[in-house]
Point group: C2
Chain length 420, copies 2
């Protein structure tokens, strides 16, 4: 997809990058530097430090299940504090700037409080301010819903704001400044040999994110892909870092020899649910999963096995925070399907390998399974996509499996992916 | 002035009344109680606890003189936190409620960031929500200015929001819940014998506020007077307290025998400025005070004395926080008027006695001066209005003077003003 680029740069600062006055001044310095380079600048800011978590815990001291609209009214203040402070710091360096809340920036959202989606952006005011030569600092994570209430966009929502603005403004790129140096072949806190990737494709990033890598919010990658917004992820405090580029081609265009596997990821936030001894009848699985779907509970991996004759077991995984809200549904589905029991197992982890190179190479899955088998790591469930293979294993073997696969697929080697 | 009253009650909770989850639940209880009594309820909330001060100090860590628009963007979050938390607490008690920011509540303000005035209120949305049977919780201290930016209303701005809403909605009354039991004959921390007043008139309250009593913001009293909004001030945590009523008649209607003096007040926030040895010429004083006026510096008391022949001294008082901003103006006026010197004296205090009863009694001023003279308290400046007499004295004699006048005018006595 081709698009005409403007000279607008979108710069997004995460919460850790604005958590102290010093870091705010540092972020301002980067904005001022980019502005003096001649480009028009739109900045997106998250709530400073742990402010969002602090506000949530404050609300829960009032009432365990706070009203969702009022929770959004509360949480939106975090980003508003962030934009005001960063704008003050930029203006103190004699660069004209103005802050806009999400609603002021024309960000329209839907009705789902605390996890709204962006439905559109009317950037008139934002463009007017850019025209005046101002840097525009926009509150991430928030928009105005059809009832003219403030709605927040869920965890990682500021990434979404930044990428969506970059798409609408046809920005040259979207710079994500954070507390890591970019995208790694594996989580460096688990695999010390993990290497920084100079390039990764949208599809790989999406699969890595859904496989448990926490760097970027998946919805923002989807939008970047749809509107061909190049993303660069780098450390907020190291201006010399080149970071990682997330683009359509990924490393394809940038490496002499393409790696089969780009990254490995471990997701320890999974829980396995098993309904045992269900009398077989058509539509049984559909009933179960549509009930969970209606309650907005994401089911990740599924395995169905004919245990004995006409009696089935169904296992699936959900994320740990969805277990509470699923309990009622599971109980009622159990009654309806006349299942023998419902079991949950939190001692599982999902290990995944991701890479566009898999499309052209056979035997990747076989190699993964063999590596795990050779080290007596039992595979409980398997799921594959064109560029990802995931296995559910015991959680206490997760970290070891990650290291073994990182090694086996050559990700520790001096870079195949070092051309910048 | 007669007005038709609605069955709407405006309840305003100050920052100390919502500073902890417990206090927020307590405030919610009072709101729910009033709502269950059948009235329609509009609540105005300040920023919890010391949040406004904390935000100001955070801004000053970024830059000593923060941009005023951005400071408003920052400060407005305090009240937004307050309304969200209180609304959660009310809804948790199964009473339908909704929070509105100042802009959402239709509060229009002028362009003076950090000390804007309310220019109008469009209560459409607020009335719609009341119609749905909801309690409406409005953020105090904020409005939307003509540029659609958030503007804050200055110290005590939440009182102003509450009284202005009560005026527009023709509310039955405006209840101010705070951390004192009401209006006293003197500051109880300085005069332990001070008595709670059950009634006080708008005019007396205005004079007491300008004399240094901090309970209510003066502009809010002016609006209450203009639109005949009865105000009741009482302690947020003592539902059985009757508090103090601020109305047109004050105690006139409520006491058998009217007191001459209603209250005494001490203002230690004054500073005396003296321009010495100014060659006399017409318009000299006008020049000085219009220069200060243009810089929005409020001059309180003025004394001009012909020192020797054609050479004059001018002394006046301003509040301490205005000294910094006046320095430049004073220096340039000194040059222009060819004054010999500018002296400032911070060791002064203003002592005032206030009472509508003064209109009908002579000799009140004489009695005041005699009491002070008998105790060797020197009077440096005097100012009088129809219902107030103020004297500038040495600040170290202020507390003693307050006690002496409280005693001399019989304010310590068992109430003349106890009919409720």
């Amino acid at each position: 997809m081709l698009r005409r680029k403007s000279n607008i740069l979108v710069m997004k600062f995460g919460g850790t990058s604005v958590e102290t006055p010093d870091k705010i001044r540092h972020a301002a310095e980067r904005v001022v530097h980019a502005r003096r380079g001649g480009r028009r600048i739109v900045v997106v800011v998250s709530a400073p430090g742990r402010m969002t978590d602090d506000l949530i815990s404050l609300a829960k001291q009032i009432v365990p299940q706070p009203d969702q609209r009022e929770l959004d009214m509360l949480l939106a203040t975090g980003e508003q504090v962030g934009i005001a402070l960063l704008t003050m710091a930029i203006k103190a360096k004699n660069v004209d700037a103005i802050s806009l809340t999400g609603p002021q920036a024309g960000i329209a959202a839907d009705d789902r409080h605390t996890r709204a989606h962006i439905t559109g952006i009317r950037p008139n005011k934002l463009l007017q301010e850019l025209k005046k030569g101002r840097v525009v600092i926009v509150a991430g994570f928030q928009g105005l819903n059809p009832r003219e209430d403030i709605a927040t966009l869920g965890r990682g929502g500021s990434d979404l704001t930044a990428v969506a603005l970059a798409a609408v403004l046809k920005a040259e790129r979207c710079d994500i400044f954070t507390d890591v140096r970019g995208i790694y072949t594996a989580d460096p806190s688990l695999v010390p040999e993990a290497r920084l990737l100079s390039h990764i494709s949208y599809d790989e990033m999406l699969e890595l994110a859904s496989a448990g890598a926490q760097v970027m919010q998946p919805r923002s990658i989807e939008i970047a892909k749809k509107f061909s917004v190049p993303i660069r992820v780098s450390h907020a405090l190291n201006p010399k870092d080149l970071g990682s580029w997330i683009t359509a081609q990924g490393q394809e265009k940038h490496s002499m020899e393409e790696a089969v596997v780009t990254g490995v990821a471990l997701d320890r936030n999974q829980i396995k649910v098993t309904l045992r001894d269900i009398p077989d009848r058509p539509g049984m699985a559909a009933e179960l999963f549509s009930a969970l779907g209606q309650a907005h509970i994401n089911v990740d991996m599924i395995i169905q096995s004919a245990a004995k004759g006409n009696i089935n077991d169904i296992s699936f995984t959900i994320s740990k925070e969805d277990l509470g809200p699923s309990q009622k549904i599971l109980a009622s589905v159990q009654r309806e399907l006349r299942a023998g029991s419902v079991e949950t197992d939190a001692r599982v982890a999902k290990i995944s390998i991701v890479g566009v190179g898999m499309k052209k190479h056979s035997g990747v899955a076989g190699k993964m399974f063999k590596v795990l088998a050779d080290h007596r790591i039992n595979i409980q469930m398997i799921a594959t996509s064109e560029i990802k293979i995931s296995c559910i294993i015991a959680s206490d073997q997760g970290k070891n499996a990650l290291k073994l696969l990182h090694q086996a697929f050559g990700l520790h080697r001096a870079s195949l992916n070092s051309s910048v």
